[in-house]
Amino acid sequence: MADTISSDVAIRREPRFAWFRQLLRDPLGCFGLVLVLLIIFSAIGADIIAPHDYKALDVKSRLAGPSWDHLLGTDNLGRDTFSRILHGGQIALYVALVSVGSSLLLGLVLGMLAGYGPSWLDNLLMWFFDSVRAFPVIMFALAVITVVGPSLETIIFVVIVTTTPGYARIARASTLATKSTEFILAERALGAGVPRIMFSHLVPNIVQPLLILASMDIPVVITIEAGLSFLGLGVKPPTPSWGSILNDGYGFIRNTPWLVIAGGIPLIITTLGFTFLGEALRDVLDPKLKKDR
């Protein structure tokens, strides 16, 4: 009796976590997952882990190399680089989550509207998406920054505008494929309204490829934030950002190599981690996409 119950449970649970087990079987996916968890935990626990205050100046030991007191050395104002990197992770993840989350939601809604709505709306939205994609991203960002001025909000705005079309296009394509299926027809015959069909029946069927794209977009967004901060057009000091650490390091590259090296490490870990994880997730969740990219 006890045996039958436990095997029942096992049968019901297996499909739910099968994808995760498959992910763990992929060595690169595992490696990516470890790197991503490392970055997430170090950002969340920055206040506890950081050995120094990231704003504290110590001019006597400025531009120092790595030591037990300063694991990754200090910058031109004597601030502890390791602590600044931990806090910079919070900024990077904040920008990534807010902008990728908003683009995903916005792209989902706009894409469904384009796919399910009237054809004039579809055409209008597609023209809009195509013209957004016509800009090289950094150039668009520079143009917006000239007018609005550099800030965290500007970066988030630029990222949302430039990445939403990607989500919307996928959502539109899946909506077009799903809307002519029989179960949607059945829903309509039962008298379901457009919002009900869209949000309770279309969304669960089209959201998965969007989530895969989101996981692959996170490193791209973090790169944009760091890149703009590196150009001095991102977050304002003294807020620590990996990009501004690199900018300081670039200014003092002849005095010390450590600032540039230390500023680049978290970016490499993050981009590699999210990319490997994203690729593994895509292979596990949607093998059809594997060939396209």
Partner: protein, 314 residues
């Protein structure tokens, strides 16, 4: 094919016009006065009004937009806010540097990426193939400015193999080429990964075809089959895909120009953002957007020329 070319060309122009309309309206809609930002807090209302009149910002929005488009057609992109030099002249001076840099980046991608892809396809599922796969993903993932900074640190500042900054002496081609090596690597390393993957996939497709089997049956050497018969066919779709990547090439060029202190569109625009030099930024964005549209146009045309089915799609 001619009909497709004309249609695709018209579409490219339309997209650029729409993109500029969107950019101008976004700038128009956001709160904030470009004149006030450009001139700083100490500017008098009269100075601001004069600035607005100079930049044509005192006109209604659509007048501004169509005047902008009209000026672009005649090659007039406005004047530098500070030096009053025409923006089109300045872009003309800087553009060759940026194009040379993008070409150097593509050069790196071709030199490293195509052999990597070929090797992977020929020795499929070998250890080196798997390693190449991981390496290509890594190349794609790592931001170009990190590659640039690390290359600058290692090869220029520490080892002193390559020069640190600048574009080399004008007229001295060898010096200019040496100055392109590291910035080109920064721009092109991501494309090494992309190319390796594309070439591997399309090589595997071509290697399965009948005429390759035929060549093998005739006893041609493996090397000759791979590099003469298969590669020639496998490389064409890759070329068609290159155009789509020019956008990321341009973004990478911005960083490489800043890091290696090279002249170019990217450096010009970043400097202009810092001094709020609005016409230069707009001119730079317009030119790079047109460059991007042109390269996607060319790659689409190559793709359509290779595959007649695409011509029907538009």
């Amino acid at each position: 094919m001619l009909f497709y070319t004309i249609k695709r060309f018209g579409l490219a122009i339309l997209i650029v016009c729409l993109a500029m309309l969107m950019l101008l309206s976004a700038i128009h809609l956001v709160p904030g006065d470009p004149a006030g930002i450009a001139l700083g807090p100490r500017a008098t209302p009269e100075m601001r009004a004069e600035f607005r009149a100079l930049m044509g910002m005192d006109q209604p929005f659509f007048v501004q937009y169509f005047r902008f488009l009209g000026n672009v057609v005649t090659g007039d992109l406005g004047v530098d806010v500070w030096s009053r030099r025409p923006v089109s002249t300045m872009i003309g001076e800087q553009l060759p540097h940026t194009i040379a840099l993008a070409m150097a980046g593509l050069g790196w991608a071709i030199v490293l990426g195509i052999p990597m892809g070929c090797y992977s396809a020929v020795h499929r599922n070998s250890v080196l193939d798997k390693l190449t796969g991981v390496l290509s993903v890594g190349c794609i993932a790592i931001p170009s400015f990190i590659v640039g900074l690390y290359a600058l640190l290692l090869f220029a500042v520490e080892l002193k193999i390559f020069p640190e900054i600048g574009a080399g002496d004008a007229g001295d081609i060898e010096d200019q080429l040496v100055h392109l090596v590291l910035p080109g690597l920064a721009v092109g390393l991501g494309w090494v990964g992309y190319l390796a993957r594309f070439v591997r996939t399309s090589m595997l497709e071509v290697m399965g075809e009948n005429h390759i089997r035929m060549a093998r049956a005739y006893g041609l050497s493996n090397r000759r089959i791979t590099y003469v018969y298969a590669l020639k066919l496998a490389i064409l779709p890759t070329v068609a895909l290159l155009g789509v990547g020019v956008g990321s090439l341009i973004s990478g060029a911005v960083f490489a120009e800043i890091i290696f202190a090279r002249p170019g569109i990217g450096k010009m625009v970043v400097d202009a953002v810092n001094t709020r030099n609005y016409p230069i930024v707009m001119g730079g964005v317009l030119v790079t957007t047109m460059l991007f549209a042109l390269s996607t146009l060319i790659s689409d045309l190559i793709a359509a020329w290779l595959d007649p089915r695409i011509r029907q799609g538009l």
